[in-house]
Symmetry: D2
Subunit: 413 residues, 4 copies
């Protein structure tokens, strides 16, 4: 796998995309401008495995501006945008990613990052963190960050088992990350991915959303907003109850399977849609995944129970089952929003990646224990305030009398 | 203040209301039936200050069935339903409450509860907890519960200052409480209160919701659901950003004041709508409060800056300002949903009060430290499961393979 | 049946209600002020059968101001507000209506109106028009108006059969009437009626709306806005398809009957919910009607198949079926929004009744043929413009160049 | 301009797209299968100017199956899909269209259609109808159809002026066309076009929709469904009032211009966004058009007042104004849904084009006068019924007793 394969024109397109993204990531750009003079990351080696999109490009450029040298690999074979690889490579960032790369290339990318002896490890899904720990290559690492719910869950499991050997800031858990990126970012970009892959009318369709976490509720809200009837499946009774109270139809997957026109998984778990469900589905049903890993729809089994398959539209594979029914899979069961569309809009990544950038600076500045840490609340609130400002929104502040009231327990009826 | 003033017919009406409520509180009824045989609260003296509604009646009946003796006072002068007082009194519960009682009567009710030497103290807003602590009357108390956000905030302030002298379970913080009661309960019942008090058309109106906590977002969602344009005011930047992303217009109150047709406060703070805002409002603007205490709209000042006032409809007072503009206040600035409507629907209180009942049993069974405690998660999840069952909703459970995946960090791309 | 039975206090309350309504009917008040000097209805006898609400009071006051003498009867036994009867009677309007009047009283009210030899007949449901034609009492009548879809349908049937003997302006068909009153007015006030009668939580409930005309779609939208899942039943395939595209679940009533928690009929037809459906319903199901006549839920049969019934809350009757299931009927199956709440908000009736007032003036001024006529479009547009102005909304007007473009067919790609 | 330039692979891709479309156009396919045996269009020459998309391909294939020979040109330079041109050409249909064709090519396409001496003229926007009339080439024409609101308006202007020389069926005015295609089709595909062109986050954005006809209300609903705040501009007061009652912010364009992040025009008129508005807009504002012609945004003037422009992303042109502000124009101001996305989903075109096919058969069968005619209601209802069936939706039919009630005027209270 080599970076820099692409010619001039790809690189130019990449630069224009980066410019467009920078224009829509005002918070990260402000942070860049503010911190640039002090170069707080001077000399730092950063290894990152992230979706190689225009927004990641803006993050990486920012880390470089603050003094770091960055080695970047792609976190998903389908999400890499080759023009961004081209543009970043030309700017001196070591990029190891290619759109539609093989599994082998994917792992060689991870290896390249590990070979760069990173001091800070930025990850999206925790594959890199897991690999470093498995290979006992954490010697140079002073800390890491993690972007996703799935990755944070894995890191917490590592912490529980006592095997986590460096501090990781759970960027995902910042309010300004998961409340926005997971909900509004994935919500919109999943709809976008479905439309680009299928061009189906959502109005009047029955859509089944598996999982009612932040990602799932974003997707459910947007599908409804496009006129679909939405069925939600859940295993957690509190979340199931919330979905019901929002007016969604809550059912078990085995009951939903026969009614759905379009299925979207967002659980962070595996085997959500599996053989027993394929057996019940309508001819023409569409399957998409918006969870981090491509394990939510059991694609391997789907392939096994099919007579054959073909690509009928870009990013849309048609499987013909033994009884003649056809099921359609978006982006190979990988993240539909990144595989079939462009991933989260820049404005959302602006907040997530501002958390990333400030978390890296924090890890550099402060010694932290080998645990999963929250993003410091002052970072979270500051990003929210900057974002509001960038959107031209002014909010109230408490009066002195209100501050006093808030802190007190003696006032009453 | 005396209980039992009401004649037979009031009592009959109360009994029918209790029957209606019991039919819509299946979880609490199930808990009652399950625990009744063991009488886990036998001999326990409970002192409660709660809104004396039909749902509270069902809770109190339940506590009595489990063996407790209960003394009950009203937590808000306008929320007491006299027929419920009549019905409960006749069943041997000591009730000290009257609709539209005076401030003096309110405090004499609290006193009566304290005089009963309660072992468990159930409160709604923490006035009773504060009073017991102020009077150093906590000698008999083994623990308490608290129903509201406002009350929990006050108790945490007490905990921080080191003055809290018995354990309190923050029922409000249970998922099955605040995610439902605060959001869906207050959302609907506030709209209900506004409609009963004004009969105005909400479609096309500009409504200003102050506060985007769980209560505020419930109200904002429902007002939008009725066709209103909604402006949200907040002091917390993360919540403000969420409101903006939900498509609400986020502004400062001083900017919203001139545009609003209807204002609703839900902040838990005081002086949210005050003199400087009255000065900017349109002729005909309507003011309502859904926060716990009647301090969010500065009613005293409103009265001061008015030429005069009169009751124009039930629960609706018209204030004529010096310049002739008229402002309309619902239910004296007290909780509009309880003052002008019937408060939360039974189905919502079913969950909140199941948490209350099980928390009281928990306090009786286990010795706890003098802190603010969460509702034990197993109680929370159980209530959610029972509620789903009562609604006829079945949900998925994880397969073994999924359980394994969830606990592991080694699976990856 | 006698008018004026009510004492002073009722009358005062009525006057305050009329004042509140006038403050929220700016268009009708403007029309009143504009036309009053010329007294265009001087000497005209008007006979009206309308819901005797505060808004009708404002209309009748307006007609009187323009010179007419008005005799008014109630169009529904449950919708009459006695305080309005009291207030209007005292102002010299002949009112024949009483809340909860008997069928006999209802018909004697219609008779009284006919006895007044009206020149203009204003009706709501066309019972009066039908009775006049049946009795051949149309001798004095120069024209009429009709307020409802149901009434207009009946009048068109009369026109088709060649029996209509005077011109009737179909006020219902004005854009500024049915697009607003039927949709937003009934939508909101039906929800209001359900809440007042039951205080049930709508979030998470399954509501079945029969009929997807303007009334039905208003109700469906508002129930969804309150968090309910909505099932729509229809007989017209185009409307059914629209409902499906709006994300509603479209089914046959026999399929919906077993799932519904709350049923609302809005079809203008009879026997929509009948014995075969009662047989399928869940214990606790609630039945409401928002169609003009009380024939949509087959109440007579419901009574027949029940062991017994009792009033469990105001405007809510509990029927216990032979197998023990209980069904709850709102407002005797009469218009739930008028029987259990206060009917349409004043702001909506402002437009409907401005159409009524200007249509009466039009009938007086111009000789029209004995047909069902539309409200003249210039009246419709003028009311819309005045309403926008009253709401403080300014809209664009076409530029000259745009006017030219609109009228032409020669411009193209 | 030549058809058939494209190589084998393009043609294969086109065939797969047509297959996908046919799978999602069940009504048109059923009509094809039903009528094919009788070949009702045998020998008929049809000239059509339509967007050359996969759905048009299915229509044209259907017309051919019924016996017609078809000459097809593209109705918009940006909407033509070259793979469809390739696939259709290979099947013996005469196609004159090319993606991004020049204005000259566009008109030569129209000429080619006229040269084919069509007996039936199918048009989209009425350019072909206008040209035929201008050239007095209507000699062979027995009738035509028209797909769009814009086109029907132009044809009605021709009818009013007495110059229309053959009958035209206004397919646009069928309920099963404009209630679905204009509203749900354009609503979704415009959002799709905006996302593909910009990848901006819609949540929290202020979107301005000009025009609240069926197209505009579809767009407004979908943008809101994606989390945007929506401002509507209108010139018709009734529509403006409807928009306000739906909770939209209704303003004049000159007031909206400074607040909007994204503008979409859907008025059917010209100069909706013009120099005076460009002057007020925020840096970064995005302009899109979903009206038929590219005259709604005054692109020529925009170009004139700009220092320069460049394509920053596919279908997105950046204009830099003299003061440095940048405005972004989607798809050159042509239909954004067709230029930047794939146009209406097949399921919507299924209904529109079923109306087209049956209207052509109707024109062939019945002699009609040279006017603008409605689609016969039985066609409209039949298409709705077939569509419901295809969606698996069953609806009620009236009982005998209900039929009787509907036809009668004698039933009453």
């Amino acid at each position: 796998l080599k970076a820099g394969l692409n010619g001039e024109r790809l690189e130019q397109k990449g630069k224009r995309q980066l410019e467009w993204a920078e224009a829509h990531m005002p918070v990260l750009m402000l942070i860049r401008r503010e911190l640039e003079p002090e170069r707080p990351l001077a000399g730092l080696r950063i290894g990152a495995v992230l979706h190689v999109t225009k927004e990641t490009g803006v993050l990486v450029r920012t880390l470089k501006s603050l003094g770091a040298s960055v080695t970047l690999a792609g976190s998903n074979p389908l999400s890499t945008q080759d023009e961004i690889v081209a543009a970043l490579s030309q700017e001196g960032i070591h990029v190891f990613a290619r759109h539609a790369e093989t599994q082998e290339e994917y792992y060689s990318g991870l290896d390249a990052v590990i070979q760069s002896s990173p001091q800070i490890v930025m990850d999206d899904g925790a594959d890199l963190h897991a690999l470093i720990h498995a290979k006992k290559s954490e010697i140079s690492v002073i800390g890491g960050t993690e972007e996703t719910t799935t990755g944070v869950n894995r890191l917490r499991a590592m912490e529980r088992e006592g095997v986590l050997r460096y501090p990781v800031i759970a960027v995902n858990d910042a309010h300004t990350k998961h409340l926005f990126d997971n909900r509004y970012g994935t919500g919109q970009s999943t709809v976008d991915g479905i439309l680009r892959a299928t061009n189906l009318l959502l109005a009047g369709k029955t859509c089944v959303v598996a999982g009612y976490g932040w990602v799932g509720r974003g997707i459910a809200a947007r599908l409804r907003g496009m006129g679909a009837k939405v069925i939600v499946t859940e295993t957690n009774p509190v979340k199931a109850l919330e979905a019901a109270m929002e007016g969604f139809d809550v059912r078990r997957m085995e009951e939903a399977a026969a009614s759905g026109d379009i299925f979207v998984t967002a659980t962070g778990n595996r085997g959500i849609i599996r053989e027993e469900h394929f057996a019940l589905m309508k001819d023409g049903a569409v399957l998409a995944n918006s969870g981090h890993f491509d394990v939510e729809v059991d694609v391997k089994t789907l392939r096994g129970v099919s007579k054959g398959s073909r690509v009928i539209r870009e990013n849309l594979e048609e499987f013909t089952l033994m009884d003649g029914r056809r099921l359609y899979l978006i982006a190979e069961g990988r993240l539909a929003n990144l595989g079939a569309a462009e991933g989260h809009p820049s404005e959302v990544m602006d907040m997530s990646f501002s958390n990333q950038a400030l978390s890296v600076v924090h890890l550099k500045r402060f010694k932290m224990s080998p645990k999963v840490h929250s993003v410091p609340p002052e970072i979270d609130l500051r990003i929210a305030s900057l974002k509001l400002e960038a959107m031209g929104i002014k909010i109230d502040s408490m009066t002195e009398s209100q501050e006093e009231y808030t802190g007190s327990w003696e006032f009453g009826t």
